[in-house]
């Protein structure tokens, strides 16, 4: 134990740089994933069969192929085909973004469809344009429904970042692996890694809970301060459904 931690604290700058790569990959991957979630989610609700089809094919492709293989393909196969080498971080952001964007598009599509139809009808009756209906009425209500599943996907994305190790990006896992190799302290190295990922994941959960609370307050639903500390659970998902059902019926 002593060996590992003295090495760990002597090489804190390495830890920080590994942590930074992990955070970078998570945040950039999440931004790409969010953008793609909305793009494919809206496309899936399009009136045009071709647009729906394109979205369907892309989503199914990225959901149906392994993230692990996608990373390998981008990093090792892409340069052979196009004689252009991508940086490991770039490959990671693209693969995470596409993969979780594919899952996220289902979240967006589902949440848009879950807004009661009467809301759309009222917006038509008030003569709003299609864009106004979406932006002012449907999206603010759907957004609240999207946050809990988005939180799950974000945490999953974070937990997928150790795959970067396989394509030589020096992320947190890579750095701690190296320390384990130097010190031979397998137990403590991996325990440290577990704790660090847990802290990262929990910080993300808190952040997303705050976001959810903010969005709910705008819909006139109030949440207790205690629920902020709670990890995503079946209970809160259930509560969201109940709130939606009662909200819809007036």
């Amino acid at each position: 134990m002593g060996d590992f931690y003295s090495y760990f604290f002597d090489h804190l700058p390495n830890v920080w740089s590994g942590l930074w790569v992990t955070i970078e990959a998570t945040v950039l991957g999440a931004i790409v994933a969010l953008a793609l979630s909305f793009a494919f989610g809206f496309m899936a609700n399009s009136r045009h069969v071709l647009v729906r089809g394109v979205s369907r094919v892309i989503v199914e492709f990225f959901r149906g192929t392994s993230l692990y293989v996608q990373l390998f393909w981008l990093y090792y196969a892409f340069p052979l085909l196009f004689s252009y080498e991508l940086t490991p971080l770039f490959c990671g952001v693209v693969a995470f973004g596409m993969n979780y964007g594919a899952y996220g598009s289902e979240v967006v599509r589902g949440a848009l469809n879950a807004v009661p139809k009467g809301q759309w009808e009222a917006a038509v009756a008030l003569n709003m344009t299609p864009a106004q209906r979406m932006r002012r009425v449907i999206l603010p209500q759907a957004w609240v429904q999207m946050i809990p599943p988005f939180t799950n996907l974000l945490i999953q994305l974070l937990k997928a970042t150790p795959l970067l190790w396989l394509i030589t990006a020096a992320d947190l896992t890579t750095v701690i692996q190296q320390m384990r190799d130097r010190t031979g302290e397998t137990t403590w190295a991996y325990l440290t890694l577990l704790v660090m990922y847990f802290i990262l994941a929990y910080a993300l959960t808190l952040l997303m809970n705050l976001l959810e609370r903010h969005a709910k307050t705008r819909l006139g639903q109030h949440t207790s301060a205690r629920s902020l500390l709670r990890s995503r659970s079946a209970e809160s998902a259930e509560k969201a459904e109940v709130a939606q059902a009662t909200g819809g019926g007036g």
């Binding site: 009467g118 009222a122 299609p130 819909l219 006139g220």
Partner: protein
Amino acid sequence: MATDPLQKTNPEDRAPETAAGHLVVFDQVVKRYGDHVVLDHLDFTVERGQHVTLIGPSGSGKTTILRLLMTLERISGGLIMVSGKPLSHMAGPGGSLKPASEKYQREIRKKIGMVFQQFNLFPNMNVLQNITESPVNVLGMDRAEAEERAEELLDMVGLREKITAHPTQLSGGQQQRVAIARALAMRPEILLLDEVTSALDPELVAGVLDLLREIARTTDITMLCVTHEMNFARDISDQVLMFDSGRVIESGPPEKLFGDPDHERTREFLSAVL
């Protein structure tokens, strides 16, 4: 009422009437869902300023008429005219009619407002925002002016003190009164009322109906109501249409229709609901 927020429309501002002078014309209107025929070659007309009530058994197509007028449903056949213009059709090549574009529909929809059974207030906005959203963003009204008018309308519906409340903080009756104010804020010429008291607790019904009577009495808005409240229908209507199986089987002034209906089916229906 101290102020009259509804200000009768200036006659000069009005669109020219159709040759026959009808505000709304249903001409051989058909609405089908798959094989199920809801409206079967329906003909009727509504005159400007009239209060028309649609009565009849559930599933007879009354609500579908309002939903067609609000362009929430697509027409399957026939023609609906509002102020002499086709509602869901526009001029196509060679004088033919083709389905209306969104832009065309928005132009004609300006004249029409609707109040729903389930209120459908926007939960992401407070009462004031619900009322001012479309006057500001659709009609392009100045925000201060829209808010002033919203306050007048809230005075009229008796909910001035709820101006910053969220829809979730209001009772059903209060929500419906806000929904009525919201519809009136768009200054519609035609107001569609779709079973507006059906989702309310019994003790809240009277307040909403009194408000609608007041609106019917003090404004020149043309009203089309679908209702199961026969006393209300008798009070406000100039014309009552009795529906059955997608057709008007009898129509007339309320005294005649409620007092001495011609049709056996009407008599049966009235004795069941009165």
